[in-house]
Amino acid sequence: MKRYRIWAVLLVVILMGAVVAGCGGSQPSAGEETAKEEGKEPAEGEPKSQYPERPIEFVVPFGAGGGSDILARSIAKVIQDHNLIDQPLMVVNKPGGSGSVGYSYLAEKKGDPYYIGTVSSSFYTAPLLGKSPVSYRDFTPVAGLAMDTYGLFVRSDSRFDSLQEILDEVKANPKSISVGGTSGTSDDAVLTFLLEEKAGVDFTYVPFESGGEVMTALLGGHVDISWANPGEALSQIEAGKARVLAVASKERLPSLPDVPTLIEEGVDVSLAQFRGVVMPKDVPEDAVKYMEEALRKMSETEDWKTGYIEKNMITARFLNSEEFGKAIVELSNMYEQVFAELSK
């Protein structure tokens, strides 16, 4: 009897695995079927007003509480409050592999307009670094919504008062100034590299796991300067713990009118993370138009302007599907060049 028990349990394990795998496996095929049924039929001459007929899944390729998650949930909330789409948007987090797990999941739903997803900087960088099998070519751009730029921060009691002082010191003593940022291939690293290239200097770049760790290292005096999204560091600025010396946007930020841009400081560098929404490839044209229009209306509401844009200190910029598509190609090419230089 006892000998069989292990086999009984193993069998249960395997069956359970098979059941769960079966459920997991059946999803994409169900998606394909629905894609055939609902995705393509309208394109063949059905009335255009039909989309959306069922809830839309809003894929966030990062965990709950992060920047992309806040974006998706804010969009879903404003759209729901203003009844801009007849069907609910269901936010689903698919984190892992710096976004690539979620992006691959979305790209698999080829032709199905009932899946949309958020876009942030790893959308461009992960495929270039060989970290994602899918790239912007596997998606349909829907709309660009906001630009989230970066600021150069120092501790409030730092000896530096301007970017120029930092550049002068690091020019005299190469590698003497440490810069904190998230990981070796993030926008923080790209900005540090661009700054080094354009100003002809050499920093010591220290990568950390998260923006929170970078801020702690800056406040604790373990790094001299650091990059952060202005919204992320707002509470430190207000409390007088940190100062921002320059921003990486093309023009000054309305929320920080006294802070010069890097360009004004004489270094021709600008970078912003373009946040927007994409759909899988080969979705019906009218579904893209419908979603683009809903997002445009949403971006004009007061709730969106105060509840998301102002609160997170980012710059609103609405781009339609076509414009956003162009911006995606431009950004991707820019990152490609930088990474080619970085790997030299």
Partner: protein, 500 residues
């Protein structure tokens, strides 16, 4: 306003009917989330977070915080009863909790878990109330070299976890360190040992590993040999279910030690409750007069890590509320929640939103009190759970483990990973390789490598950075001392016996 007046004000916020109800809801949900294997506090918070959108921020955060520290109570339940940690911070509780249950002392083990958690939680809140701002400065003084030194110290506690054969323990730890290497390299951004599998780019999460090596392996092993937990009928009387006076005497110092160690490690961003429980167990064992009892059902082996993980949960609020920096995966989710409510965690939160901060602190007192009542009420019920026929219990636990693994990232990959580590764990158990060193090394390994590389980048390659900075130098000295102590002791013994 003094701290005490602030606290009274906080109670006036927290004691509203709605807030007390949400606090109750939060701690009960938290206990369940903690007790369900595979579903830890960070995953549980992420799942329940969307439910709170649109409601009052103070009420929501009272509930979310209740889930967080409630999970620290719940995690130990399954550790003790079925050798399956409910969450990662409860891994250490299996080492002595399960042997106690096998000896028919599941009641006192659970009771000590409740009381140690309550005492540590309450003391933790007091420390938080009076010392949060100065402690935040201490947390800031920890840079990469200090973290490295702390991780080295953590690894020295390995020696206390090796079980019967030190060699097998160290092999297990080295395997854990190798698994810690998997994933995208922080510095260069290149994937390592991921074999093109996307899901491995973010590294191997220790939750599937802990669930597999402890939970699934345990189910497989008990399936082949009938292990019935001996428990006489008389044992189920309520009084017998509580720790005895002798138990309390043994646990006095481990609880206090666990509370302080836990709070301190919990407030360091990046360290967290899991590492706190490991280090606290290590200290409790190495300072014990009878270290050989650990791992065979010593009640101190429950008291120390359970006290540590609860006060670490409170400690994690120090960087979150005073600096605006989340100290762990769970507090990162809480921070996301705060930001969605339009509250900006940071140095000004205490001034700008006193009703929020003090309401939260007061609610933690209330939550801890509710938890003690709820848990003590249910201890007899939980203890009876082990009398459920093993095949039924095992299948139910298996369902929860696999569902929990899926819920981590809403991805099947983690389910396969959990099953794979279950098979590894099964053979480790059969060959008597301890599982705890593997998990400790996996948890510490990632932080160890990152802090080592960050430190060396900062010092431009000079390893003296670990010894010349006062805090990291001190911790390194303690770690080296702890490693060499047994050697010195035996050398002294030999010398003494020669002279005698």
């Amino acid at each position: 306003m003094g701290t005490f007046e602030n606290l009274l004000y906080g109670f006036s916020v927290a004691l509203s009917v709605t807030n007390v109800l949400y606090c109750l809801l939060g701690v009960v949900l938290g206990t369940i989330i903690g007790a369900l294997p595979g579903l830890g506090p960070s995953a549980g918070l992420a799942i329940l977070l969307p439910l709170t959108f649109g409601s009052n921020p103070t009420t929501s955060i009272i509930m979310l915080a209740g889930i967080y520290y409630g999970a620290m109570y719940g995690g130990a339940i399954t550790s003790i009863l079925i050798n399956t940690p409910g969450d990662s911070a409860a891994v250490m509780t299996t080492l002595d909790g399960y042997p106690m249950a096998q000896q028919g002392r599941a009641g006192p083990a659970m009771g000590m878990n409740v009381f140690a958690s309550f005492i540590a939680g309450t003391i933790g809140i007091l420390i938080f109330m009076y010392l949060a701002p100065p402690l935040a400065k201490v947390a800031l003084s920890f840079g990469p070299p200090e973290y490295f030194a702390l991780m080295v110290l953590g690894l020295t506690t390995l020696a206390g976890l090796t079980g019967e054969s030190p060699l097998k323990g160290f092999i297990s730890a080295v395997v854990g360190l190798i698994f810690a290497i998997v994933g995208v390299d922080l510095v260069t951004g290149l994937p390592r040992f991921s074999f093109g599998v996307m899901e491995l780019y973010s590294g191997i999460d220790f939750i599937p590993v802990a669930m597999g090596v402890f939970g699934i392996a345990e189910i497989l092993v008990t399936a082949e040999r009938e292990v019935r937990i001996q428990m006489a009928k008389a044992d189920l009387r309520f009084r017998k279910l509580l720790p005895s006076l002798a138990d309390w005497m043994a646990c006095r110092w481990p609880i206090i030690q666990g509370t302080i160690t836990g709070f301190f490690i919990g407030m360091l961003p990046g360290a967290g409750a899991t590492i706190a429980s490991f280090i606290s167990y290590g200290i409790a064992k190495s300072t014990s007069k009878e270290p050989q009892r650990f791992g065979r059902g010593a009640i101190e082996g429950i008291a120390a890590p359970e006290a540590a993980n609860n006060s670490a949960a409170v400690g994690a609020f120090v960087p979150l509320l005073t600096l605006g920096v989340p100290g762990s995966a769970s507090t990162a989710v809480l921070m996301g929640a705060l930001m969605m409510f339009g509250l900006r965690p940071g140095p000004l939160l205490f001034e700008r939103n006193p009703e929020f901060v003090w309401g939260l602190i007061a609610s933690m007192y209330i939550g801890n009190a509710i938890l003690v009542l709820v848990m003590l009420l249910f201890v007899p019920v939980f203890v009876r759970a082990v009398q459920v026929p093993r095949p039924i219990l095992s299948s139910v636990v298996m369902v929860f483990i696999l569902a929990g693994a899926y819920s981590l990232n809403n991805n099947m990959f983690d389910v396969w990973l959990t099953l794979l580590f279950g098979i590894l764990g099964y053979f480790m158990k059969k060959l008597k390789y301890p599982g705890a060193p593997l998990i400790l090394a996996l948890v510490l390994g990632q932080l160890l490598e990152n802090s080592l590389r960050q430190s060396l980048i900062l010092s431009l390659g000079d390893p003296r950075i670990f010894f010349t900075r006062p805090i990291s130098g001190t911790i390194m000295a303690i770690a080296i001392g702890a490693t060499l102590y047994p050697v010195i002791k035996s050398v002294l013994k030999v010398l003494r016996s020669r002279t005698a």
